[in-house]
């Protein structure tokens, strides 16, 4: 009886394996295989395979699958490091590039803000052309995903999108996102957690895709054209990762906008009654309390209702 039931569960597990097998790693190994096969000569390889007995062919297939799965799993462990790399948290020798690239990002953001101000003046006067209206929408969106404080800027666009989301709760509510997030996460409903997980998973997959694109450069030893493919691959993966990071940033910001009250309630603190400076002060105190376990004055906890 149970075996029939587990068939459907088995289908789910098979789906996960399929994700591994036909994930970004498949593109890397598949692409590399095609390059090597054509370098060695398609018919030479085909004849070699055909001349093997069936157990050898099956063993080769299983070894191939094993390599695919192990490399996928390994990349899963490395993706956080690659995400940090794409964000712009660099160590030597890339650290030399941090300052000039960050200044370049700041310059672009400043230019966008100046132009946005010009267009907002025109909007106020009511003489905005349709083209300018579209331009204003683009600048509005770009500005939203850029760090408010230019000192928070990172050297990459992806880094700035995520930095913007992480610094927004601090500027709006005095809450440090990195410190408060693990606590807030535990208070979110399963549906909200699922939506966040899904957005994060999507970003992680694209970061993995970018990393596999970087590794694709290895095949340039066999065929120099692989360099062009790898560069195009990394550019596309990066653009998609930025879009995905924006979605994740939207959800992260929204989680703080909507659920920050539950943070105060769960630690039995009074909920701020006024927005602006009052809330920012309360948020800073709560952040200090959550991170250091200290507060300027002892806090009187609210009684459980």
């Amino acid at each position: 009886m149970l075996s029939k039931f587990w068939e459907s569960t088995g289908e789910g597990i098979a789906g996960q394996w399929l994700q591994y097998i036909f994930g970004p790693a498949f593109l890397f190994w598949g692409g590399g295989l095609i390059i090597i096969v054509f370098q060695l000569g398609f018919y030479n390889v085909w004849n070699w395979i055909s001349s093997r007995d069936v157990p050898t062919q099956v063993a080769a297939l299983l070894i191939g699958l094993f390599v695919l799965l192990v490399s996928s799993k390994l990349m899963e462990q490395l993706r956080f490091g690659f995400l940090r790399l794409l964000e712009g948290y660099w160590t030597w020798p890339l650290s030399y590039l941090i300052s000039p690239l960050t200044n370049l990002q700041k310059w672009f953001i400043e230019q966008d803000r100046k132009y946005w101000n010009t267009l907002m003046d025109k909007l106020e006067k009511g003489n905005l052309s349709p083209v300018e209206k579209r331009e204003l929408a683009r600048l509005e969106s770009n500005g939203h995903y850029a760090p408010a404080d230019l000192d928070d800027c990172l050297p990459t666009i992806l880094g700035n999108v995520l930095q913007s989301a992480e610094s927004t709760p601090r500027h709006r509510y005095g809450l440090d996102a990195v410190i408060c997030w693990p606590r807030l996460w535990l208070l979110l409903s399963k549906e909200v957690q699922d939506a966040m997980n899904s957005a994060r998973q999507s970003l992680d997959t694209l970061v993995e895709l970018w990393a596999w694109g970087l590794l694709f450069l290895i095949w340039a030893f066999w065929w120099p054209g692989a360099i062009l493919i790898a560069i195009a691959w990394m550019i596309v993966a990066y653009i998609l990762a930025v879009q995905s990071a924006r979605k994740y940033a939207d959800l992260l910001e929204s989680a703080f906008d909507l659920y920050r009250w539950s943070l105060y309630e769960s630690v039995r603190w009074d909920v701020p009654r006024k927005s602006g400076e009052d809330e920012i002060m309360a948020g800073r105190q709560l952040t200090e309390f959550l991170w250091r376990g200290t507060s300027e004055f002892p806090v009187r906890y609210k009684k459980d209702k």
């Binding site: 946005w116 907002m120 579209r134 929408a137 927004t168 601090r170 500027h171 709006r172 939506a195 939207d250």
Partner: protein
Amino acid sequence: MTTNLVPDDYYRAARKLLPEMEGNMREIVEELLNKAESGEKTDNRLVEIITEDKNLRKKFRDALETGQEKTMGMEYSGLGGNVSSPDAQKYICPVPGHDFTRRIQKAGEDPGSCPTHNVALIPFEQKGGQ
């Protein structure tokens, strides 16, 4: 994207099927669900009992899949339209007679200073109140 089933998914599906269960089975399942609510893990026993009935087995699987689809459907995607430009906080040069203004796009942004007088800009309302 397929997600793993957790005990709560089984409890949810079993609860959904309660009205369709025969008297004895219903009592047992209700008791197991009550135990689950009090923290005891009863999902395996629930699966065993419900899947003994051929009709309920299929409905149980469907209920679990519906639960999964619900989770999968939670994926967020932004709206396709352009963002509008709501009112933005305005800052002005504090020097009397000079009206250089600048808006900020979001909280935490430095409004900067007046390029003519090199003094920090102040909130627009503040100058009006002076």
